[in-house]
């Protein structure tokens, strides 16, 4: 109810610095980071491919069709077929599902476990921190492929185990970055205040420290998605990851791609483009997000 009114009030209201809407924020982000926005677009396209894979193609990604083996790209098979006569476009669309599943889950799990461990390590300090750092050293130094090989030999192949194999090496990398931010947070007065109030360690870590290291956490997580997709492709290529007939980009480059590279180069080229584009997109998006959220952070 407006009891006092002055001429030009409405205009002043219009000029007032309102909190920008989400769309305005998005527009600003895109204008400031055209490359990041491009990366975001690639990410979006991948997500659409992963969610609506069934609707985007007429073929079954796993059904063999020996009548149309190694067909060159044409109007029916947009990107050609592989040595089992499976449509490459279909397999690339469905491969996005595998890549995103592994990418998101292992990036989220690795970054989150790293976040909790890193903050706890910074908060408790002392012997716990020292031992924790040494354990992280071991995991960092341990060759990733060997870890993956061991995980796969113990638990068997398949998407879940690839996720485990990729998550483990991410934990120390994220924990390191989060720990260094958390060390600074630990020294701030509000942590002392919280301790003086008699809050439990769990509460202080989760309610007071974790929210203050969200920026490096989110940045590490986005950076990790692209890495995870790349590692998943490498492991599948080595035969240690996702298994046939599941459509996965790395797997599509295994075996047949090299054997038929000369006569059917499309088998070797398109899945590689898919991997590169996906990682490219996630990296650009992650870089822009880092510049936006935490410009000083070096990852």
């Amino acid at each position: 109810m407006a009891t006092i009114s002055h001429p030009g009030d409405e205009a002043a209201l219009g000029e007032a610095p309102l909190r920008p809407s989400r769309w305005q924020l998005l527009g600003r982000f895109c204008a400031q980071n055209p490359l990041g926005a491009g990366g975001g677009l690639v990410v979006l396209v991948m997500m659409v491919m992963a969610i609506f894979a069934e609707e985007m193609t007429r073929f079954d990604p796993t059904a063999n069709n020996f009548g149309d083996m190694l067909t060159a790209p044409n109007l029916e098979y947009w990107l050609g077929t592989d040595q089992f006569g499976r449509d490459l476009y279909t397999r690339i669309v469905f491969g996005a599902r595998t890549a995103l599943l592994v990418g998101f889950v292992s990036a989220f799990a690795g970054a989150t476990i790293g976040l909790i461990l890193g903050v706890a390590s910074a908060y408790f300090g002392g012997l716990f921190d020292l031992i924790f750092q040494r354990v992280m050293d071991v995991v960092m130094a341990f060759p990733l492929v060997i870890l993956a090989l061991a995980v796969v030999s113990i638990f068997g192949t398949g998407a879940q185990n690839v996720i485990v194999a990729i998550t483990i090496p991410f934990i120390p990398r994220c924990a390191r970055v989060v720990r260094s931010s958390a060390l600074a947070v630990r020294e701030t007065p509000f942590i002392d205040a919280a301790r003086a109030c008699g809050f439990s360690h769990t509460r202080i870590v989760l309610r007071h420290m974790v929210p203050n290291v969200m920026a490096p956490y989110i940045v590490m997580m986005t950076a990790a998605v692209g890495q995870a997709i790349l590692i998943e492709a490498s492991l599948s290529f080595l035969g240690l990851g996702v298994q046939e007939p599941t459509p996965a980009w790395g797997l599509m480059l295994r075996g047949g791609a090299q054997e038929y590279a000369e006569s059917a180069p499309w088998v070797a080229i398109y899945p590689g483009i898919a991997i590169s584009l996906a990682v490219f997109g996630f990296n650009l998006f992650g870089d822009a997000l880092r510049d936006w959220l935490d410009p000083k952070l070096k990852v």
Binding site: R134, V135, D137, V138, A141, F142, P143, L144, V145, I146, L147, L149, A150, S153, I154, G226, L230, A233, S234, F237, L238, G250, L253, A257, Q258, A261, E262, P265, A268, I269, P271, G272, I275, S276, L277, V279, F280, N283, L284
Partner: protein
């Protein structure tokens, strides 16, 4: 400084012990063992007596902690024993492949340096021009492209161009010959994997060179040099680049440390008989002694490379003093 190195070396001991324990128990978690595997591949039915004799022969009937102690004792005395699968001394088996992998790693590093430093410098000097954008796109693509795919593309390109030039496709040789025996043969085989790995490796270093150069070019002493009339090219080479190279050295060192364990995929693509291939074989054969020795080799190289990088860093930049 000596105290710092001493401290780092002491801190390395728990890391190495941790890695030793990790690989030792990880390998034993894998279901089955080398004896059943060997007999199964032999084709015949598995005779429990033969399996038992095989385990006895390989010392796998001893208590697990005793086996672990023997492994650690072997590490300390540099006695790595024999491969469980081939029966040959591990030192011989590894030495054969180590040469190849080390050469590829070094060549990849050289490739990376040759690409990264000039490109990163140009990109920083010509910031926000088309040259800069081009270099940045080139380096981002390098991070995104899987090196095994790049390898496949290189092989494809070799096949197609050689067929067009000579009529018949030419493939790089498969058998390893040391560099000093036949340099041409050796290089014609290893230059391709080195390029594929080196390009990816250079991408990170290019970005690091660029950002370090940008930082240094804004320093006061660069402006002073410019003000007193020093040529721009001389400033870039002598004043800026030397200081900008410090973080680049670190990143190259760290990447090199990862490279030794990360050549597995590239070796697979180019069908090279290197450490990576030996790694995969020994894990799938459940060759405990070989896998353990290889992991310890890679972890030790990793730890020492990191230490050497930090020491070089301090040596190059007198402002850095490792106090504790």
């Amino acid at each position: 400084m000596y105290f710092y190195i001493f401290k780092r070396l002491t801190l390395m001991i728990p890391t190495l012990l941790g890695a030793a324990a990790l690989v030792f128990f990880l390998m034993r978690l894998i279901p089955g063992d080398i004896c059943t595997l060997r007999l199964a591949t032999g084709g015949g039915s598995i005779n429990p007596g033969v399996v038992k004799a095989c385990r006895l022969e390989l010392g796998m009937d001893q208590p697990i902690l005793l086996q672990f102690w023997l492994f650690i004792k072997g590490l300390i005395t540099f006695d790595f024993g024999r491969s469980m699968w081939t029966g040959r001394p591990i030192v011989d088996e590894v030495a054969l492949r180590f040469q190849l992998s080390l050469q590829v790693a070094i060549m990849a590093t050289i490739t990376a340096i040759l690409i990264a430093i000039p490109l990163g410098t140009i990109s920083a000097v010509k910031q926000n021009t088309w040259v800069d954008y081009l270099v940045r796109a080139f380096s981002i693509a390098g991070v995104a492209m899987p090196s095994f795919w790049l390898g496949i593309l290189i092989i494809l390109a070799i096949l197609i161009t050689s067929k067009a030039l000579f009529g018949s496709p030419w493939m790089p040789p498969i058998k390893y010959v040391p560099l000093w025996v036949d340099p041409v043969y050796n290089l014609s085989m290893l230059i391709w994997p080195a390029l594929a790995t080196g390009y990816r490796y250079s991408a990170v270093a290019t970005r690091m060179t660029r950002s370090a150069m940008l930082e240094v070019l804004r320093e006061d002493y660069v402006r002073t040099a410019r003000a007193k009339g020093v040529f721009r090219s001389l400033i870039v080479r002598r004043h800026a680049l030397r200081n900008a190279l410090l973080p680049v050295v670190t990143i190259i060192g760290i990447e090199f440390a990862f490279l030794m364990g990360g050549l597995v995929v590239t070796e697979q693509v180019f069908n090279l008989n290197g450490l990576g291939k030996l790694f995969v074989e020994s894990v799938s054969n459940q060759d405990y002694t070989m896998t353990q020795a290889l992991v310890m080799l890679v972890v030790t190289i990793f730890a020492f490379t990191n230490l050497i990088v930090d020491v070089i860093y301090a040596w190059l930049d007198p402002r850095i003093r490792y106090s504790r």
